[in-house]
Chain length 366, copies 2
């Protein structure tokens, strides 16, 4: 019996699920936002994922529904779950990826180390938190943020008058003095099997992931995996779970963000791991046995290819240059947009892998 | 500029071109025979590839057209080439893969070693050849044969009265006393760059490929590559060229068959080579630089998964078992049908890879 999976969202994450679905003989369908989405090849419907009737029509064509992003409204998911449609992850798990205040509460309850945080709604509450936290803090809108959006460094409530004016709860967190940012990727299937990849280091530039180094130069691999497992089990996550972490100078790990879907920090796994995050996400959502996440080479570096201007789409490039792989997402060009990525593997060192990837990147710009 | 490629035929070869097309940002479209073909995900048209209007309509939607099989009639290709549509390989090359008499003439002219052969049309001609070749020969219909069809062992013209009755030319060949069958896979792009994979051994069962071992236990690797290059250049082949070879007890190589498309003997390259035959075929057809064909592991074994009955579709299987990969083609089940394949890699030996693959195969039947 061929199983079918539906993916809500037609971005590059859905696009990269297509190849493993084909290999495994899984029928894949995509509900895309537009006709020319990166995952258009598998798009069977174009429509608004916020509209319950649209999502219902799509859900009725597949066995299980999963996600390219976490923006489907919770009430849409809850309504359709009550009608018997199966979402993986379910609304019960996904709410913690959608709402950062709910996430902080749940993680604190699970004993997972987080930055100091508070829910604030007034200038007074915010200023009090800032004053008790070294005169600076990170303010976040609980929902809707990504790639640095919905996040602001604040030194006084005056820096957030526009957000406070909405009189909705905000999440404020201490500004963590971290030495590096890490990501722990893992996956959990419906039956509860759980499997992690190696801990990776993520290098952000202007709030957007620029590079991922696998493995991270950190001795916290076991602790990170333990944190990820606690979260996956505690929140009943199914599919891929990405846990973004801060590592402090004194060696502590603090959870920054969660994503319950394949994640930019895991793109290296397509070449760098025996089972990619995209295959594993499908396996987990369909409750298949999880694949082996062992590394194929000791070192992997991924570089995001961001749009440099509004014309270069980086289409039809020479993918295989000195052992690096270029992935092209098929998007129209825009400055700063994630247009694709480059992964390079090495037996020697992270620096060796990085140099290979950089050389390819330079070739792309020529 | 995103390039688009059209594939005529919706079988597993077209299906396996989808993943590399997505990675490279190439738009891929398929003209399929039926709605539920293995490559249905990329099918933009369902129709008869023998009908020139159907093929023209499809060709007009893409930059370059290539093939999942070699059955598109030559006059259809020639008509559309004259109208300016670009086929890779072109009709000038493809005719040698379509017609075995033309192939034998051309290879003989190129000095490529072939079994002793003749064109015969009458009982007398056939019996004369058989008598001069040790009382047994291989008789082939020049066109339309595959997987053992259109091929017959004959000891007298009485064994082929039905074919002779059609009064059309037949190809008769000596029955080669071979010690093993080999396949040399290579690819050539429009600009003339050529690149080969390692020589592999193919193990046939009932006229159908059952196993492929890479590398072949043969010392004829260089000679095989040289033969393949002579053919690719001599016949102006673009895309993947598979040269099936006999190896004789005295170490000679004789060309058995040609295919100008990805080939069953090259499926191991998806995991076993840095560039798979499917990616390379797209690169060659679109005149991109060819990828690196170095092996990812020293040994690879591929087993075809043939239908055992009319119900087991081998869908949704546990792909990653002890390092082996299962590929499912998404076909309805039929006895003897190629339903998928298993590839196992090993650092140790061919036998080690084979045992891993066999273990997975046994698991599939459980």
């Amino acid at each position: 019996m061929t199983k079918s999976i539906g993916v809500i969202g037609g971005g590059q994450l859905a696009r990269m699920m297509i190849a493993p679905a084909q290999v495994m003989g899984i029928s894949i369908k995509v509900l895309a936002e537009s006709e020319d989405s990166p995952a258009s090849l598998a798009a069977t419907q174009v429509g608004d994922y916020k509209d319950v009737a649209t999502v219902r029509a799509f859900a009725s064509t597949v066995d299980v529904i999963t996600f390219d992003h976490e923006h489907v409204p919770l009430d849409v998911l809850e309504t359709l779950e009550a009608e018997g449609y199966e979402f993986q992850p379910s609304s019960k798990a996904l709410r913690f990826a959608q709402n950062k205040l709910d996430m902080r509460s749940a993680l604190t309850e699970l004993g997972v180390p987080c930055p100091k945080w508070a829910k604030v709604q007034s200038s007074e509450e915010l200023d009090e938190f800032i004053n008790s936290s070294g005169s600076v803090a990170i303010l976040k809108t609980p929902t809707g943020g990504y790639d640095g959006k919905g996040v602001r460094v604040v030194r006084s409530s005056a820096d957030a008058l526009d957000w406070l004016a909405k009189r909705e709860p905000l999440l404020v967190e201490e500004k963590v003095d971290f030495v590096r940012e890490l990501a722990q990727l893992s996956a959990r299937n419906k039956s509860g099997s759980w499997s992690s990849w190696t801990l990776v280091e993520t290098i952000q530039k202007d709030g957007v992931c620029a590079e991922v180094h696998s493995p991270a130069t950190s001795s916290n691999g076991e602790l990170a995996a333990q944190i990820a497992k606690t979260i996956a089990e505690g929140l009943n996550v199914t599919g891929v779970l990405a846990v973004e972490l801060f590592e402090t100078a004194d060696g502590r790990l603090l959870v920054n963000e969660l994503a319950m879907r394949p994640h930019n920090s895991g793109h290296f796994s397509i070449e760098g791991s025996k089972t990619s995050q995209f295959e594993q996400h499908l396996r987990a959502a369909l409750d298949m046995p999880l694949g082996d996440t062992a590394a194929t080479k000791p070192f992997a570096v991924m570089l995001n290819v961001l749009g440099q201007n509004d014309t270069n789409t980086f289409g039809l490039v020479d993918r295989m240059v000195d052992g690096a792989s270029i992935h092209v997402y098929g998007k129209s060009a825009r400055v700063g947009r994630k247009m694709g990525h480059i992964t390079a593997l090495s037996d020697e060192s992270l620096e060796d892998a990085r140099q290979i990837a950089l050389k390819v990147w330079e070739g792309l710009q020529a």
